[in-house]
């Protein structure tokens, strides 16, 4: 597919448009929800919200909306980067095994009762253990997939797939030992839902994620060259091994952080990159930052749906992302099939 080459103007225009979209989604996500607080309250018109509404807005809803944005952006950026180094359109953030490790960590923490506010790790025990699990998975997969000092795409994909299958079995084993109440918690953790964490935790996650996304962005030009194939890229002077290893580590950290904070939220890291590729073309200098902004907006909207469609009941956000993202993606793909040959 050919597109007009990326100009600074086009890059800026798209990023501004996506930033505006994200801002609108953040506003919408903060304005709507199960509690009775309207958009008018938020904008300072009408009656000022009472104390209860203010607490709900600032301490329950806003941190959750912000976390959704950060996680959506992280997962999408990780998806874009993995698709670039694996040169495989089916790659998503979970394909290389990190999610399996994170799930095991989180589920074990739930089994041991570390999720309680009064437990050892003070309310974020599950998240901490899941991140630890992701790190372990990262090292194990990297160690196994490195053959003679090289990280080959083929072994990386296979190792990731086998590691995920193994983790799945281990989780079923843990579930078979859990009590009914623990089972509920485990199932819902795995289905993915965005918690209301404190601002400091959300800030920490946001800082780490943004740093990783910036580091990925620095390799955007190399990803473009990599689309010629590893040999071609090497001939053009790209240190392919270094790029692959760095991307694998950074993408895994992003994914690990996301799964640790909110469980397995599927589809964001697969659908949003492809959607954007359909619209923006495949220059990674635009695709990576656009992916972060677009993924953030998408997950904020999906979480809004999860918590308010059936209010006061809640639906796991992973269900919403898959139910909305899947058909929409297929529709776009079919509509675009005649015009481009993107996929």
């Amino acid at each position: 597919m050919t597109r007009s080459p990326l100009s600074a103007r086009r890059l800026l225009a798209w990023l501004l448009a996506l930033t505006a979209t994200l801002a609108a989604c953040l506003l919408l996500g903060t304005a709507l929800g199960a509690g009775r607080i309207s958009l008018l309250h938020l904008l300072g018109w009408g009656d000022s919200p009472d104390a209860v509404q203010a607490v709900i807005l600032w301490k329950v809803r806003l941190p959750r909306v912000l976390l959704a944005a950060v996680l959506g952006g992280s997962l999408t950026a990780a998806g874009v980067a993995f698709q670039a180094i694996l040169r495989n359109p089916l790659a998503d953030p979970y394909v290389l095994g990190v999610s399996g490790g994170a799930s095991i960590g989180g589920v074990l923490a739930l089994l041991l009762g570390l999720g309680r506010a009064d437990s050892l790790l003070g309310g974020v025990g599950v998240q901490a253990c899941a991140f630890l699990g992701a790190l372990v998975a990262l090292f194990v997969v990297e160690w196994i997939a490195t053959v003679e000092g090289r990280l080959t795409v083929y072994t990386l994909l296979l190792t990731g797939a086998v590691f995920n299958a193994f983790s799945g079995a281990l989780i079923f084993f843990i579930q078979s030992l859990a009590s009914m109440e623990q089972l509920h918690a485990i199932v819902f953790y795995l289905m993915g839902s965005i918690p209301s964490l404190g601002y400091r935790t959300v800030g920490g996650i946001a800082f780490a994620s943004l740093a990783a996304v910036v580091l990925l962005f620095l390799m955007a030009r190399d990803y473009n060259v990599l689309s010629l194939g590893e040999q071609g890229a090497a001939q053009l002077g790209v240190d392919v091994e270094r790029i692959k290893r760095r991307t694998f580590i950074l993408g895994s950290l992003l994914t690990g952080l996301a799964v640790a904070s909110a469980g397995l939220i599927g589809f964001v890291g697969l659908v949003v990159p492809h959607l954007l590729r359909l619209v923006l073309g495949s220059d990674h200098r635009l695709l990576l930052p656009a992916g972060f902004l677009g993924g953030a907006a998408f997950l904020v909207l999906a979480d809004l749906g999860a918590r308010s469609l059936l209010a006061p009941n809640e639906v796991p956000v992973g269900v919403v992302t898959a139910l909305v993202g899947g058909p929409f993606f297929l529709y776009l793909m079919r509509r675009n099939r005649k015009r481009h040959s993107v996929l």
């Binding site: 929800g33 199960a34 509690g35 009775r36 104390a51 209860v52 509404q53 607490v55 709900i56 301490k59 329950v60 809803r61 009762g113 999720g115 309680r116 506010a117 009064d118 309310g123 599950v126 009590s179 009914m180 109440e181 623990q182 509920h184 918690a185 819902f188 953790y189 839902s193 918690p195 209301s196 918590r307 308010s308 059936l310 209010a311 006061p312 009941n313 809640e314 639906v315 796991p316």
Partner: protein, 308 residues
């Protein structure tokens, strides 16, 4: 066709035939229905899978016939010490047979019906009871009592339960009805909704369940919606760890200091065993809920009533 491939073709055919025969055999095997001339004997060796079923069997004075229980049966102690056969509706078939079980009592479950059907074909009598609600508990009482020759005793137990429940309802008839949140799980937030015995207990004990419009008896709900409804009493049974803090304390709810329940120090942490097992203890459990909602009517709950 080479001789070798012909042999292979024959082998295939043979295997198919055998498979078909095996399937036919399964279908043809008559279920061991009780014969018409003699009424089925009263079972002597019983396995009860659910905690609620165990309590029903116990109150009918049939504990000594129980030979095995489900994993979650903790009460009465004599039953808790028996061999454990698995979760609510998934008993280990080999263990069921090894224990020479006459009657297997499970709580109703569509998911496990294949497993149960298999046991029925092996000649085990399977009784499914539904104890989700108050009416379900009473019906189960008669179902179990009728089959095990304790119909009269079941009627007596029912009379007792009804009288006590009526008494509780009468005592709070004129009282105000505070908003109650019954927490089954935190992070994500799970609460008791309509169709659960908990919902009925709250109503009988003179409260209003703030999650009365939830979609299912135990439902994942939005934290902000529950905070917005400003519960005046919070009963939290989500912590099932042994030795977890029990009693009257805000715990994690303390961070929502605007809640009436937190301001008036009416957040209670109770061991789940005290409140979540529907069965013959329903009146006692309802009275405990009453003590938490209307201490001015029922008196304050004693410290040990929060403990397992």
């Amino acid at each position: 066709m080479s001789p070798k491939s012909r042999t292979r073709a024959w082998l295939h055919l043979l295997l198919h035939l055998l498979a078909c025969l095996a399937l036919l055999g399964c279908g043809a095997e008559p279920p061991p229905a009780p014969s018409a001339e003699s009424a089925p004997a009263i079972p002597e060796r019983i396995v009860v899978m659910a905690p609620s079923a165990a309590e029903i069997v116990d109150v009918l004075g049939l504990s000594d016939r129980v030979v095995g229980v489900g994993d979650f049966v903790q009460w009465p102690p004599r039953l808790a010490a028996l061999p454990k056969l698995g979760a609510y509706d998934a008993p280990n078939p080999e263990q069921v047979l090894t224990l020479r079980t006459d009657l297997l009592i499970v709580t109703g479950s569509k998911a496990a019906s294949a497993n149960l059907e298999h046991l029925r074909r092996l000649g085990i009598e399977v009784m499914e009871i539904d104890t989700t609600t108050y009416q379900g508990v009473l019906a189960s009482l008669h179902q179990v009592g009728g089959r095990l020759g304790r119909a009269e005793r079941a009627r007596g137990v029912e009379r007792g339960i009804r009288t006590k429940m009526e008494g509780i309802r009468r005592r709070v008839a004129g009282a105000a009805r505070p908003r109650v949140l019954f927490v089954v799980g935190q992070n994500p937030l799970y609460v008791a909704g309509p169709g659960s015995h908990v919902d009925e207990m709250i109503a009988a004990a003179g409260g209003r369940n703030v999650a009365a419009d939830a979609l299912s008896p135990y439902q994942l709900v939005s934290l902000e919606a529950m905070l917005d409804r400003q519960p005046e009493v919070i009963i939290d049974v989500s912590d099932n760890r042994p030795g977890a803090p029990r009693g009257r304390a805000a715990g994690a709810w303390g961070q929502w200091s605007f809640l009436p329940a937190v301001k008036q120090r009416r957040v209670y942490h109770v061991d789940p065993v005290r409140l979540v097992i529907p069965g013959p203890r329903l009146p006692e459990m309802t009275e405990l809920v009453g003590k938490l909602i209307h201490p001015e009517v029922f008196g304050e709950a004693a410290a040990e009533e929060f403990l397992p």
